[in-house]
C-alpha cells in the first residue's frame, strides 16, 4: 500500500500548515512508518524554531526590549515636532507666543539683506555659466572606471557624468566595474598588490 503513504510535501504541510484529514489521520494511526516520518519532521522544525527563538531571546532580554520601546517612542516624538530654535545669545528672554518681536525697521533691513543675497547668487551664477560656456573652457568629467564599456580599439564618446553622486550610486558603479570581464584581466595585478589590511 505504498501509494497510501504520505508524500514529503504533504508531511511538511501537516507539520507546518494544516491538520490531517480524517483519512490521513487514519493512515497515520495505522502506518508506523509515516507516523515516524511525521514525528521526525516535527522534531526538526521544532529544533529550528527553538534554536532561533532562544538565540533571539538571549540577544534581546526584557531590559533591551524596554530600551528599544522607549527609543521608538522617543523617535516618534521627534518625528512630529518642529525643529527647536535655540535662543541666541543665550539667556535672552523667550518671546511670548503669537507676539512678533521684530520691529518694522529691522524687517526692512532683513528684506534688503535677502534681496541682496538673491541678486548676488543670480549674478554669480550667470557669471559662472558665462565663463564655462566660452569656447575652450568646457570641463568634461568622464567615468574613469568604465573604459571597458567601449568597443576595443575605438576611442568612443566620452560620457559626461554628474559630478556629485550618492554613496549608493558610487558603490553601484564600483560593483559594475569589478564584475565586468575587463576587471578579470587585472586580477593577477590585484593579487600582487598588498591590501590595506595586509600592510597593517
Amino acid at each position: 500500500m505504498r501509494a497510501d503513504h504520505l508524500s514529503d510535501d504533504r508531511l511538511i504541510e501537516l507539520s507546518l500548515l494544516e491538520a490531517p484529514s480524517a483519512t490521513e489521520q487514519q493512515h497515520l494511526s495505522a502506518c508506523a512508518r509515516c507516523d515516524a516520518r511525521r514525528v521526525r519532521m516535527q522534531r526538526l522544525l521544532d529544533d529550528v524554531s527553538d534554536t532561533a527563538t532562544v538565540a533571539a531571546d538571549a540577544a534581546f532580554p526584557p531590559e533591551r526590549l524596554e530600551r528599544q520601546h522607549s527609543r521608538i517612542l522617543a523617535r516618534l516624538l521627534r518625528e512630529g515636532r518642529p525643529a527647536r530654535v535655540i535662543a541666541f545669545p543665550a539667556g535672552q528672554a523667550q518671546p511670548e507666543p503669537g507676539v512678533s518681536r521684530t520691529r518694522p525697521r529691522s524687517r526692512w533691513i532683513a528684506a534688503a539683506a535677502v534681496a541682496g543675497l538673491v541678486v548676488g547668487v543670480i549674478a554669480g551664477r550667470f557669471g559662472h555659466e558665462y565663463s564655462f560656456n566660452r569656447p575652450g573652457a568646457q570641463v568634461i568629467v568622464a567615468h574613469a572606471v568604465q573604459p571597458q564599456l567601449r568597443a576595443p580599439g575605438t576611442a568612443g564618446p566620452i560620457q559626461e557624468a554628474s559630478v556629485s553622486i550618492s554613496e549608493d550610486e558610487f558603490l553601484d558603479q564600483l560593483e559594475t566595474a569589478v564584475e565586468s570581464p575587463a576587471a578579470a584581466a587585472l586580477q593577477p595585478i590585484d593579487e600582487l598588490t598588498p591590501t590595506a589590511w595586509d600592510i597593517r
Partner: protein
Amino acid sequence: MSRTPPRRAPSTVAGAAAPLAPLSRDSQLAAEIKGLVASGERDAARDRFGELVARQQRRAVRIAYQYLRDAHDADEAVQDAFVKVFTHMTSYREDLPFEVWFTRILVNACLDLRKSRARRLRWAVPMSSTSEAPPTDPATPDPTPEQRLVSRERASEITAAVDSLPDRQRTVFTLCHLAEQTTAEVSQALGLSEATVRVHLFRAVRKLRRLLQPGERR
C-alpha cells in the same frame, strides 16, 4: 517549546485568494491609531502605538534577528520598521491584518539593512573581530557541560543550515514557521502567489532536512 500542528486554519487551494481570519486585536488597535492620527490627535495616537509596539515587539525582534544575525542590526531594523509604520499609519488598510502589513515593512527594513551592510563590508577594511558574536548559550540551563556542548553544536548546525538557504526560501520559511503566518498572509506580505510561497517553503524544509537529518529518506 514544541508546538502541535495544526497551528492555523487550513488554507485554500494553492493560488486562490484565501479568506483571512477575523481581524486580530492588533489590527483593531492599528485601525484605532489610524483614526487618531487622521483626526490630528497625535499624542493619543502615539500612546496607543506604544501599546501596539509592546504587543508586536518580541515577534519583530525574532524575525529580524533570524534575518540579520546581529543584535544591533536587528534592533535598528525593528525601530525603523515601527517608526515607518507610525509615519505611514494613514495608509494602513483596516480590512487587512496589521501583522501582515507590519511584517512586510519589517522584512523590507531587514533587507535594506542587509544590503547596505553587505556593501559596506565589501569595501571596508575588516576590523579585528569587533563584531558582536551571536549568543551561543541557550537560556535554558543544561545539566552537564557535555550536554551544553552538544546543544551548542546542534544550535550552530541549525543556524548554519538556515543561513545556507537562498534568500527567498529563508524569508518564506522564517515567516511561515517562526512568525507563524499562513501561506496566504506570507503571500500578501511578500507580494508572491500562494503557490510560489508553498514551493519556496517545501524547498526550504527539504534542504534543512537534507542538512540536519542526513540519513532521512522517504
